[in-house]
Amino acid sequence: MAKGVLVDIPKCIGCESCSVACKLWNELEWDEQEKNKTAIDRAKEPNNGLWPEEWTSINRYDLEKDGESVARYVKAQCMHCEDPACVSSCFSKAFQKLPEGPVIYDQSLCVGCRYCMMACPFDVLRYEWKKAIPGVRKCQMCATRVANNQETACTSVCPTGAIIFGDRDQLLAEAKKRIKENGYVDRVFGEKEAGGTSWLYISDTPFEQMRFRTDVTTKPLPSYTEGYMKATPFVGVGWAAILAGLYVFNNKGKEPLD
């Protein structure tokens, strides 16, 4: 069963337990500069506070709602697309979508071309520019924990249940129920975006005001090129066969070269 995470934005109190849990579980290094940034600082940065050692971050947006100013805390991390563009763009198969939901990355297969970063519609991938042998970094949705029937590190520590882990189908139903009950914006971000994502967001404030990419296509990104890209093996094998045939034909009856 495909797993997912539901983020109920109004229920977040901004304690940032999730980002600490992520740091602990993934043994990510602490950066003095990043550590001292606040959720308000991060919301002003172009990259949502995501860095090679910050796989998830909380951003605070001060908004207007019903004539009152309110603050909303939004968690940023990899959305774990159902049909991920990073996976399809990676020719060395360093990325893979697991049937349980996580989109994982194996650095030993990576050649460092960064096509995945170009492909990602949500701009969550980060390259380790400072390292001698760099790789790409992003949330792995605690693949080993999920495979072990445990929930992700971040959801396990959330004190208010603002992020909950579960089967994606059930979470989607729960999200729709909550939208109706609480009068949220009638949109589950991640239901259809980029062909659907494992992470689902619901909110009572407009998504576009919280730097969500609301104009993203609902078509799975790989489907744009799938039509002709799937001919590649046939072209490749066919081309090899033609060249081999020509070779054999050209060398018929000739003495081998020394």
Partner: protein, 526 residues
């Protein structure tokens, strides 16, 4: 072709290139068609770290302790170091169960994190991730400035806490050494907050008598207002009970206001050049001194250049840090005396530092204020209000008034229960003392951290030390303090006079609009 491969030596450049080209083409084709080993979760980056055991439960199973409390980066009193946090959840335990703040508001949050700045989370945090906002450098800067007169006051409870930072047994009284250390650090004048604790008793006691006799049209019971955590708690959760709060300022703010007016006038110091520091066992005091209304000296002197009444509040731990940083050998310091004018406190003032102390001090002076006679010795040992129980009740017989019922509460969860009763109409008391921290100031958020989790054993030892100081004191009633008599004669005229109202009394603001109050227990979201 096979024979060719066997004879490597004769491999030509041309056939080698052909071989490599063919192999790559096959490789790319195989890759694109999906052949190759799929990666498994254990090959993914990360995922080898550590998590507290309670979070390693399968699925979305509720665990007993989760996460941590939110702390605003702008919080004037409390800061957190994420790198030290182990997500053990102890801060949530104390904030929700003991102080009844976390979880007592509905989500979404409106603007600010509901926080009374009490700092109990600091005492409970096992990894030192939460601590007070460090203001030590501000004080060092003021001390280095020769044009500034740095005046310091020390709270009743710091003298029995500070020694622990230097390896002394829990509850050691280091009053004299503390004064000596402050002088050595370069503070120009060292005052005792016990003096204004006595002054608080005079003001608050007079107010109580006026409320009881009906001269002042404010509701009964009167509730103490010395604890800034408690005051903020009322402002958040019980704004309808704000009229019950005594209008008297806390001793810290009284001392601060008087330093920049009374002291400045008497010693002919420019109030603009006074830097007023308070050493407190408390983190909420850091918030209190920044409240906009705590600016009486500037208002009284009609000079906007006079800084707030108390410029900086340091916790006991920060003072210890200053002493250590300056390389002072604390244990070998001589015992010194506080400066005169506002440095004399009575035994009644010193027991402000523990739960029940304010009540005991108030009862002694209320007896005097009502009857005009000295209180009987029994009131010097009011055992029903002593001890670490969360809610204590007592009845004191005062001739002419009869039995006066009083209540003493420490810990905000206990206060919440009593406040709910009060709202339901059950309030037989005339006077209530409420302290945010369990045990009172002696185990406040700014006191030295014990090597063990907070316990009543440590609280009792610190309290016993305070009661011991009281028992040995020459003067045990606030109204007997000679400096109190002097300040009323020379400066304030009488308790609750116009000038006293201006400098020593304050008002409160409702904070009910800053959050959505919890609807009901059944409706609890988390």
């Amino acid at each position: 072709m096979a024979s060719k491969v066997g004879r490597v030596k004769s491999l030509s450049r041309r056939s080698f290139l052909k071989f490599v080209g063919g192999a790559s083409l096959v490789g790319v084709t195989l890759n694109l068609t999906g052949c190759g080993k799929p990666i498994t979760p254990d090959k993914a980056i990360g995922g080898n770290g550590w998590m507290p055991t309670q979070y390693n439960a399968p699925g979305n199973w509720p665990t007993s302790v989760r996460g941590r409390v939110p702390i605003d980066p702008e919080n004037p009193a409390i800061v957190r170091d994420d790198q030290k946090c182990i997500l053990c959840g102890q801060c949530i335990e104390v904030c929700e169960k003991i102080q009844s703040v976390f979880g007592n508001y509905e989500l979404p949050i409106k603007k600010e994190f509901v926080c009374v700045n009490c700092g109990q989370c600091i005492q409970w945090c096992p990894s030192g991730a939460i601590s007070e906002r460090d203001d030590v450098n501000k004080v060092f800067k003021a001390l280095a400035d020769p044009n500034v007169t740095v005046v310091v006051q020390t709270a009743p409870a710091t003298r029995i806490g500070l020694g622990e930072e230097f390896g002394m047994p829990v509850g050691t009284n280091v009053q004299g050494k503390q004064v000596a250390a402050l002088r050595k650090l370069g503070f120009d004048v060292v005052f005792d907050t016990n003096f204004t604790a006595d002054l608080t008793i005079m003001e608050e006691g007079t107010e109580l008598v006026k409320r009881v006799t009906g001269e002042l049209h404010h509701p009964i019971p009167q509730m103490t207002s010395c604890c800034p955590g408690w005051v903020k708690f009322v402002e958040y959760f019980y704004p309808e009970l704000i009229p019950n709060l005594s209008s008297a300022k806390s001793p810290q703010q009284m001392e601060g206001a008087l330093i920049k007016t009374y002291f400045a006038e008497k010693k002919e110091v420019d109030p603009k050049k006074i830097f007023s520091v308070a050493i407190m066992p408390c983190t909420a005091k850091k918030f209190e001194c920044q409240r906009p209304e705590m600016n009486s000296a500037s208002k009284e002197l009609n000079d906007s250049k006079v800084s707030p009444d108390v410029d900086v509040v340091l916790t006991t731990r920060e003072l210890a840090r200053m002493i250590k940083r300056s390389g002072i050998d604390f244990a070998s310091l001589p015992e010194e005396e506080y400066d005169k004018l506002m440095g004399t406190g009575t035994g009644a003032g010193v027991i402000f530092g523990t739960t029940g102390g304010v009540m005991e001090a108030a009862v002694r002076s209320a007896y005097y204020l009502i009857t005009g006679q000295q209180p009987p010795a029994a009131l010097w040992n009011l055992t029903p209000v002593r001890g670490m129980q969360g809610v204590k009740e007592a009845a004191v017989n005062i001739p002419g008034v009869g039995d006066v019922k009083v209540a003493v509460i420490s810990g905000l969860a206990n206060a919440r229960k009593v406040m709910d009763q009060m709202k339901a109409g059950h309030a037989p008391w005339a006077f209530m003392e409420i302290m945010a921290c369990p045990g009172g100031c002696e185990y406040g958020g700014g006191q030295p951290r014990a090597s063990s989790p907070p316990s009543d054993e440590d609280r009792n030892r610190r309290a016993a030390s305070l009661y011991n100081i009281d028992a040995k004191a020459k003067l045990r009633n606030s109204h007997d303090n000679p400096e109190i008599k002097q300040i009323y004669a020379d400066f304030l005229t009488a308790p609750m006079s116009e000038k006293a109202e201006e400098l020593l009394h304050t008002h409160y603001v409702s904070r009910a609009d800053d959050f959505i109050p919890k609807k009901s227990e059944e409706n609890k979201l988390y």
